[in-house]
């Protein structure tokens, strides 16, 4: 459904992505793991054109093109089929939870206000935020804001939802409430790409795991297989490091 090939990206002289091939099948839940600086967020941002890749190719359904040659209009059309959830939520602070969700339906997709309102309330219900519909982001906790942000990203039924470290700014309890919502979406068959440090999520919810290091994909495998018998020594080292509990 969505595929990028040979993605390269440099920031100045720092090469962050060194030829990444990445593929998303419909209905899959992919966890992208890796240490900070491994390039996983940059990969997500290149796919969504928030960063311009230096080289590569993108395929989305029947659209296929050199990723550096995609026009502004095509970017907009591709984004119409994507949802994006940010680490910092990025809710519109001048709009209520409901208005945040409505925006993509009414302003961007010209859906009638009545239909959009119904849909937006449904989405807020799905993330357990219907009783906060008229609250502004500043009045919500981080976990609540992220749930609204998820509702905003799924409201227009995108083909794939990209999550960029959605729980990294949250404490464990709030992380739990956001992960619950994401698990629910996964169970409903939403196609998801999740850049995360949550190993439990990768283990239990994702059905495919990608491990990145130094701008390349080191290993990828079905979730069970990835955790049960990692093949690359780098992956083993990473899993060992994240597995070991702190004992003081």
């Amino acid at each position: 459904m969505l595929e990028v090939k040979n993605i390269h990206k440099k920031f100045g002289s720092n090469e962050v992505l060194k030829g990444v091939d990445f593929k998303v099948e419909k209905g899959s839940v992919i966890a992208v793991l890796g240490n900070s600086g491994s390039g996983k967020t940059t990969l997500l941002r290149c796919i969504s054109f928030l960063e311009q890749a230096d080289q590569g190719e993108i395929t989305f359904d029947d659209f296929q093109k050199d990723i550096t040659a995609v026009t502004r209009k095509e970017i907009k059309e591709l984004r119409m089929k994507m949802g994006f959830v940010f680490q910092g939520y990025n809710l519109f602070r001048n709009k209520t939870a409901l208005q945040n969700v409505l925006e993509g339906l009414t302003a961007a997709r010209k859906i009638s206000v009545k239909a959009a309102q119904k849909r937006a309330m449904e989405m807020l219900g799905k993330v357990g935020m219907e009783n906060r519909a008229n609250f502004y982001p500043d009045q919500l906790s981080g976990g609540q804001q992220q749930r609204v942000a998820i509702a905003r990203a799924i409201a227009y039924n995108p083909e794939v939802v990209l999550f960029d470290e959605p729980t990294s700014a949250l404490d464990p309890r709030l992380t739990g409430e956001v992960l619950d919502v994401m698990r629910k979406l996964a169970d409903e068959g939403t196609t998801m790409v999740v850049v995360t440090h949550e190993m439990e999520f990768a283990r239990k919810v994702a059905n495919w795991v990608v491990y990145m290091e130094d701008g390349v994909i080191v290993e990828e495998a079905p979730s069970k297989e990835f955790f049960a018998c990692p093949k690359n020594p780098k992956t083993m080292a990473f899993l060992h490091m994240t597995d070991s509990d702190y004992s003081i």
């Binding site: 949802g83 519109f92 602070r93």
Partner: protein, 226 residues
């Protein structure tokens, strides 16, 4: 205080206040609205990074911030007639104040637009909004909130700066005070009186600012519609 001085102060109060209301306030408001329009244009073409217009913007701000307001007033009112452009005193003052304020407020608007977190712009693009929609629906309302206190600062500053229009023969608040001071030989009392009237106008402006600043926050639940 002598009885004569008290008489002068009382009778001159309304004579100074009336041109204050009829000239100083309109001069301030018209110049401010025009100046903000210029400023908004200058700020938007800079943040939208429009080639040519962005450079023009920087040049404009450089010129009008870098030269004294009174010199700009003199060039427009006394200078332009020698190249065949003759304007009345009041429109000359409006033009000078608007052009000058445009440069200062452009920087207020630009910094306010840039202060809205970039992440919200990215989020707007990702849900499918285009650039104008993102600016109008997400960035501008928040930028306006950020710009509001410094804009009021500039409005209050302008209110007092309009007294410079007295130097190009506009009969406003300060000109009137000058005339009465000259006639009565009471400069100390009359100029203090003018100062008090400016202070009154600016006090009202401060109240208005405080009122709207409290309204312009997004931290109470919106009323439920329907």
């Amino acid at each position: 205080m002598s009885e004569r001085l008290a008489q002068i102060l009382i009778s001159s109060f309304t004579r100074i206040l009336i041109p204050g209301i009829k000239v100083t306030i309109p001069l301030t408001l018209i110049s401010f609205v025009l100046g903000c329009t210029i400023a908004l244009f200058l700020a938007v073409v800079q943040t939208a990074n429009i080639k040519g217009l962005k450079q023009f913007s920087r040049f404009y701000i450089w010129v009008f911030r870098g030269t004294p307001l009174i010199v700009q007033l003199f060039i427009i009112f006394f200078g332009l007639p020698s190249v065949g452009i003759v304007l009345d005193a009041f429109p000359s003052a409006v033009i000078a104040f608007a052009l000058n304020l445009g440069a200062y407020n452009a920087e207020i608007f630009r910094s306010a637009i840039q202060a809205v977190p970039q992440g919200q712009t990215e989020a707007a693009y990702m849900i499918g909004l285009n650039y104008p929609q993102t600016m109008l629906r997400v960035v501008m309302p928040q930028a306006f909130r950020i710009a509001f206190p410094p804009l009021f600062n500039s409005l209050i500053g302008l209110t007092k700066d309009t007294s410079l229009a007295s130097s190009i023969t506009v009969v406003e608040l300060f000109t009137t005070a000058q005339q009465i001071a000259a006639r009565t030989y009471e400069p100390f009392a009359l100029y203090c009186e003018a100062a008090v009237i400016y202070l009154m106008i600016c006090t009202v402006l401060t109240w208005i600012q405080n009122y709207f600043e409290k309204k312009l926050v997004w931290n109470t639940p919106a009323p439920v519609k329907g």
